[in-house]
Symmetry: C2
Subunit: 594 residues, 2 copies
């Protein structure tokens, strides 16, 4: 019963009308080919693939799940065929350099297609999804020989990648990991240990799987400073790039989980598996951050995806289903039964999902613009500025977009009433699939500490100021714009509050560093709400301009203005609540243990 | 891996130390036998049954689910045996009058045992759970013959009951229902139609199932004023109370749902089934409210149950698992790995679950005291006052306790990290089982409209004032109590705010009745937070007294004080957010439909 429709109109609104991607793409070589015609063709074709191939497999994948047969994992019926189409159509290599067999299109354009894949079938999307991180890690830290051997098939999608960090006794705390890597005479390593929760760790979609693994050398120091990074292929590869012998890395079992059943979450046993060092010894964690930052942005995208699914399904359902009369007509015996959308509280729920979905989308494509600039800009200062903005926004993207996705997904169920709880309508699967997103690739608390501790306090507020300066400039620029004046006043005050609060936390943290931990979650949420206040003010601005121009799609723009109004009236007051929590500090978090 | 431990210490704290049940029970005949010794014995025995019999079936019930074979439903392995023990041990009849085969103990004592059953295995608990509502409905509205025939076996648990309202096209809007009841010559009726989402609608636990069904007589007016209530037994019963012929009400299919898999959610087809009118023709909805109010309080209990499960599991897990170092020791290479409870944000999550669990429990047993008074008090004024408090608090209990249960359950998962997403630990089942609670027995919006529209505005604030007067008296009484003075100041201000806001909404609603709908959800949540502020202030008061007396269990009381402090510092600021939302009114809820 769930039916996926790619949100092309909103993706175009955000990229073309709000963020002016057409001009953006003209700033660097890789963007030159991304003309409006090409973009259109790619989005339409991507939408077709997602709507017709991936989406129909989503529920079946959930019901069927993955099966372990011996050491082999069978993915759900149809997944393999869809993956073959994905490779054949060149989706995998779209944003990769032409010399690597890619199409040389901008990263951000690939992400637009990726958004649709994430929405259509997140469990499936995780198989190719992790390959991008593996590719980036090898591109940045691999030896020339490693790049020559592994990059091209990873880019084409012929092989896939994984990210092996967690062990049963260590998740967030990687310093505890125990997997060993013992040097062999030929320069390779013998890996011994067991990893858990490895997404796409074993499957039947690709010819080979390239595991990127954290492990310890025999003489490594304890803690995070003794971790190295290794490449462990499922099948060993010879000098000519031919796969040969099966390496001794095996799937021991599949986790039974709440959702994402179509993706194989594996226990991977390294039984004297052969591995190859990536980057310098004992610097594995910092190399892995290349992968992790990719994965974190990818998980933010997952948040956006589940919000979109909640939005489009709840919107469609509530516009069709009649239930109940208007409160103002209860005393009229002949009053009509009304559409669900005519009831105030249903609109409250719909608007909540809408402001998260479309607000997070706008913020996401703002980050993608920075990704393009970081990758392609010729000016080093531009690249560095973009990188800093990405560093600052990545934890917000990962944590805020997934936390709000949980709210969207649960409201999506509520909009359907009892039918939301039934499998048939897909809304319960959406929540089950979404629920992992605030946990993996670094929990919300880990992201919050990254944001407040590392990105804000450790830089003495420098990264924050880079971003608040952008908001400040926006406020200045539009302070006399009548259509958004009330928003600008609030946004401007919040932008200042953000800096003031950060300073206040910093001062308290000098006395007691646990104050950072006590403030982190609420600081992250507050930051996210301010980011969305910015993009919603800007979206309201564009929508007002379009309406003033008598553009087509008047309802679309009116809805944008309505959503902005709702956001400022009913969601933004949450900032105050998080401010109170932050100010109450560590003193309010006592809990005695007997 | 989930292990259930009945929260006897906290139930005793709330009932004995906070709400002084021992004195309460001495006020009426049915309470006289509920001496401390008897209560203790019952709670201990109930805890044993829940921990040893029901809890071990909880996960198995989820995995196995129910099966439809022909027209018969097979419940999960072990459910039938547990139900037999439940009857044999007399749990079903505990709070029923002795002349009906019950034990004549107070309603509230039965609920204490029921809380534990709800926590140990909610899906199982729904089978006997609905019988109580059927019993109450028949007691109040049934004919003498109906009572004689059906009550005793329902009370003993030999038979079970159901509540058949929803049809595929009507859930919240019962005025749309179509099931027909055609009079037969013998005074009975022929029921034709189909009901969906019927919990415990068909199963193999009891000898007979008594369906309480809403349907329309042939000449009935349209809408809710043309609905009548019928009793439709699965097996027809003769004058001697012997079950005979199979009635033509059949389970057509079982719903596949997100959770509560152990409970059979049925499509019930009435294929010229024989039914008997309960209460006056066309007054069925008002008779059904007897059942619905029971079911709503029961669903509030479900909310409490899922919070408790989140709490006790997250508390046990985080006290045992070591992960990460203290922020203040990050630069010390030899710093110890710490328990999860030592990390500030883990405590934030634990305390959030704790204040909802224990706060809701205190409020729940306050309501149960009113239930006792309503049922047993000899003074009519006392009975009426208790009834009015129950009327006012029932929608808050149903909506607020289930909404906060969703937050508890999702945080329960988060406290476990990746392990929370895995079936083994039971936390994901807890969220899946909890998710229905804000939907069935009247959605959160329906409850919110009941609270704000019917209970507050329609009574011109009378019911609200009855309750705020109690809070006001509490504040006056303890205004000089140093241990809770800061709480009293806040509570007193909020109590006033509650009245003021209600009046303001009432004034706006005079202009536009949709303002009630626009305010309802936020008003309900705000009301819940104020109720919990009251009980937390009171719990902090008791805890302070106990600590001053050097009572045993110092840690227990210290934790209570810590939780109260957390509640006022970090949860109560949500009131302000809901106030903003309420004040923004219907104007902020526009969403154009094209």
């Amino acid at each position: 019963m769930t039916m996926y429709k790619a949100p092309l109109r909103d993706i175009r609104f955000v990229t073309e009308e709000l963020l002016d991607y057409p001009s953006h793409y003209q700033q660097f070589d890789q963007g030159k080919e991304a003309t409006p015609d090409i973009i259109n063709a790619i989005l339409e074709e991507g939408a077709r693939f997602c709507e017709e191939v991936l989406a129909p497999l989503n529920r079946a994948g959930d019901e069927e799940g993955c099966r372990l047969e011996g050491h082999d994992v069978k993915t759900p019926e149809g997944f393999r065929n869809a993956y073959q189409q994905y490779i054949d159509n060149g989706w995998s290599a779209m944003s990769q350099p032409e010399e690597m067999g890619g199409q040389g299109l901008p990263e951000s354009l690939g992400i637009m297609v990726n958004e649709m894949m994430a929405e259509a079938n997140w469990a499936w999307n995780m198989y190719p999804g992790l390959s991008h991180g593996a590719t980036a890690t090898l591109t940045r830290h691999g030896t020339e020989q490693q790049k020559k051997t592994y990059l091209q098939p990873l880019i084409s999608g012929q092989w896939t990648g994984t990210m092996c960090l967690t062990e049963s006794h260590c998740g967030s705390d990687l310093g505890l990991l125990k997997t060993k890597a013992i040097p062999k005479e030929d320069g390779s390593y013998r890996l011994e240990g067991s990893k858990i929760f490895i997404s796409s760790g074993e499957h039947d979609l690709s010819d080979n799987i390239i595991h990127i693994v954290l492990a310890r050398l025999p003489d490594a120091p304890a803690g995070t400073k003794g971790i190295s990074l290794f490449l462990v292929p499922k099948f060993l590869v010879d000098q000519q790039g031919q796969t040969g012998e099966r390496n001794k890395v095996y799937c021991g079992s599949l986790e039974k989980k709440m959702g994402i059943h179509g993706n194989a979450t594996c226990v991977l046993n390294f039984e004297e598996a052969t591995g190859f060092l990536i980057g310098p010894a004992n610097k594995g964690l910092s190399c892995m951050f290349t992968f992790m930052n990719f994965a974190r942005l990818g998980t933010g995208l997952q948040g956006l995806a589940h919000s979109e699914i909640a939005w489009q399904n709840a919107w469609r359902y509530t516009r069709e289903r009649k239930q109940g009369r208007l409160l103002s007509e209860l005393d009229q015996p002949d009053a009509k039964t009304r559409l669900l959308t005519e009831h105030a509280d249903v609109r409250r729920m719909l608007l909540t999902i809408k402001v998260f979905t479309e607000g997070n989308r706008a913020l996401y494509y703002y980050i993608c613009k920075q990704a393009d600039l970081f990758l392609y800009a010729s000016d080093e200062a531009v690249r560095q500025h973009a990188e800093q903005l990405m560093e600052f926004l990545t934890p917000i993207c990962k944590a805020f977009m997934t936390e709000t996705a949980l709210e969207s997904a649960t409201l999506g169920i509520q909009c359907f009433g009892g039918h939301g709880y039934i499998r048939e309508y897909g809304m319960e699967q959406n929540l089950r699939d979404a629920r992992i997103a605030t946990i993996y690739e670094g929990t919300t608390y880990i992201q919050s500490l990254d944001l407040l501790g590392r990105k804000v306090l450790l830089t003495q507020g420098e990264l924050l100021r880079k971003f608040t300066k952008i908001i400040h400039k926006f406020c200045k620029q539009h302070e006399n714009n009548e259509s958004i004046k009330t928003y600008i006043d609030k946004l401007s005050a919040l932008n200042k509050l953000w800096g003031d609060l950060s300073l206040a936390i910093g001062m308290k943290a000098l006395e007691d560093r646990e104050e950072t931990g006590a403030a982190a979650y609420d600081y992250m949420m507050l930051s996210g709400y301010i980011c969305l206040a910015w993009v919603w003010a800007d979206m309201a601005r564009v929508a007002s301009e379009k309406l003033a121009e008598n553009s087509a799609d008047a309802t679309f723009y009116t809805q944008k203005k309505e959503a902005a109004q709702f956001y400022y009236a009913r969601i933004l007051p949450r900032v105050e609540m998080h401010k109170h929590a932050i100010e109450s500090g560590i003193a309010s978090l006592s809990l005695s243990v007997d």
